[in-house]
């Protein structure tokens, strides 16, 4: 379809203007606001004890949620694509639940199940394990909301790779374990990596679900996104400017993730 120059430039202008207003301007704004009082001020905001503890909590949540969902994601993708197990279609539909259910509802659900008055809450309480209003609850919440990413990235790749090489390996006497490590995993590597990146991004940035199960006490169960929210409602020097600094800290972490995404993207096309 040959688009006349007038239309081509119009569409380009519309697209660029839209992206500028919706996407670029807000991100640039955060950076400007952070550094308007200088680098040292911004640095002091992200190195308060509360901010450091929030940083490590966010890292801890991601460090547990991401490997769990990666293992689950690869396993589920294999079950969905490679086996004819019964209930496969049901499983396929259920995987997407976290995409449809609001994160806040996820938080509520966890309170109802693991809270003091919840279904299993009293059992955990009797054994001295606190889940709600503790990091454990925040980790479970994050696992929930970031669950589909890896499955959804790995499954199409697995489908495309086909089974020929795996069958060849089996014919040559490889055990299913060997086949998985030597043949399947290397061929779906890009899909797994991209899934990990998306899961990590979501884990670091999740707020809705973790807000509900957090006690909102600084230094204990406040992750970085929650700290941003907390600081926007705090008046004075520890308030909005500090929120911008924490926002930038999160933005930088996510830019690193985005960079990883971009580096992986062209290789994904070659793999096809």
């Amino acid at each position: 379809m040959l688009v006349r120059p007038f239309w081509r430039y119009s569409l380009r202008t519309v697209a660029l203007a839209y992206l500028a207003v919706i996407l670029v301007a807000p991100v640039v704004f955060i950076f400007i606001k952070t550094f308007e009082h200088g680098l040292a001020t911004a640095w002091s905001y992200v190195t308060t004890p509360a901010a450091i503890s929030a940083f490590w909590l966010s890292v801890l949540i991601a460090a547990i949620a991401v490997p769990l969902n990666t293992i689950f994601g690869v396993g589920t993708a294999i079950v969905l694509i490679r086996t004819k197990a019964r209930g496969r279609r049901l499983l396929d539909a259920l995987i997407d639940i976290p995409f449809v259910v609001s994160p806040v509802i996820v938080g509520l659900a966890l309170v109802l199940v693991y809270g003091i008055n919840g279904w299993f809450g009293s059992w955990f309480a009797d054994h001295g394990i606190q889940i709600i209003f503790a990091p454990a609850g925040m980790i479970i919440a994050t696992v929930f909301v970031s669950l589909p990413f890896c499955v959804r990235e790995v499954a199409p790749v697995l489908m495309e790779v086909g089974t020929e090489q795996e069958q060849a390996a089996t014919t040559l006497g490889a055990s299913s374990w060997q086949t998985f490590w030597r043949i399947t995993l290397p061929s779906i590597r890009q899909g797994v990596a991209y899934g990990v990146v998306l899961t990590t991004a979501r884990s670091l940035g999740e707020i809705g679900a973790v807000a509900v199960v957090s006690s909102n006490v600084l230094g204990s169960t406040v992750s970085l996104p929650l700290l941003v929210k907390y600081r926007t409602t705090t008046p004075g020097p520890g308030g909005i400017s500090a929120a911008y600094a924490t926002g930038t800290e999160l933005a930088v972490m996510s830019l690193i993730v985005l960079l990883a995404m971009t580096l992986l993207a062209p290789q994904r096309k070659e793999a096809r």
């Binding site: 380009r12 807000p26 689950f72 609001s102 806040v104 509520l108 966890l110 996104p225 999160l250 971009t262």
Partner: protein, 241 residues
């Protein structure tokens, strides 16, 4: 399956059971009281509008990224993913500062539905673009050229050749955006302080300990979301025949 049960299925079942724990009447009240109704209506209307604008703009952006050539296109292609990577609360904070009270660009959208819409357009931007882009890349331009050489005007070629090929991708991207809008919390938490939005009402209910009404509203929100998603899928499968 066990993993899925522990982390996903049991909690969702708990919400549904809590919603009906004190009888059907209480459930009905929790969904149809004036606050819940306003919140559900706001959420639904804003989500539908955002999904529509998003599908149109997303398709245009995908088109420009695939068919147009200009300097900086590669950079643009990579920043499309930014909303997936950027924590939603950061988007919320940025939009509040940029388009809210004391805005440096002179627009005060604070506390309006418009700024909520802008936030939702931000977080859902990649859905349609990322779903349309690969289809557009694979689309064979020969069919379009054939149509043009047979005398079809551009508008006809677009409507008869390009759009039918893109429609499934546009619809699935839009469905994902819509679902995201209905439940979104992080990107609008700082913006929707005056406009009742379902997810924020649910949050406040949980914080104040009224979990039954929170669960009731949750079920209401889920039912509406699923009804529209199934409707969309049904319509699409009828069109596809």
């Amino acid at each position: 399956m066990l993993y899925l049960s522990v982390f996903v299925l049991i909690p969702v079942a708990a919400v549904v059971s809590k919603a009906f724990s004190t009888g059907l009447g209480d459930f009905w009240t929790s969904v149809t009281n004036s606050i819940s109704l306003t919140a559900l209506e706001n959420t639904l209307v804003i989500s539908l509008i955002v999904a529509l604008i998003g599908s149109l703009m997303g398709t245009i952006v995908a088109w420009v990224l695939v068919r147009d050539e200009f300097a900086g296109k590669r950079v643009l292609t990579s920043i499309i993913d930014l909303p997936f990577a950027l924590p939603t609360i950061v988007a919320s904070l940025a939009l509040l500062g940029l388009y809210g009270t004391g805005s440096p660009v002179g627009v005060d959208l604070a506390l309006t539905k418009t700024i909520i819409g802008v936030a939702l357009l931000f977080v859902t931007l990649p859905f349609v673009v990322r779903s349309v882009q690969p289809v557009l890349l694979e689309l064979d331009t020969e069919v379009e050229e054939a149509a043009a050489s047979l005398g079809a005007a551009n508008s006809v070629t677009f409507r008869r050749v390009v759009l039918p090929a893109l429609r499934p991708a546009i619809v699935s991207g839009t469905a994902l955006s819509f679902a995201r809008c209905m439940g979104e919390y992080g990107s609008i938490v700082l913006l929707a302080t005056k406009v009742p939005i379902a997810s924020l009402i649910i949050y406040n209910d949980v914080e104040s300990g009224t979990t039954q009404s929170a669960a009731g509203l949750s079920v209401g929100l889920l039912v509406i979301t699923l009804a529209i998603l199934f409707g969309l899928r049904g319509w699409e499968s009828i069109r596809a025949r």
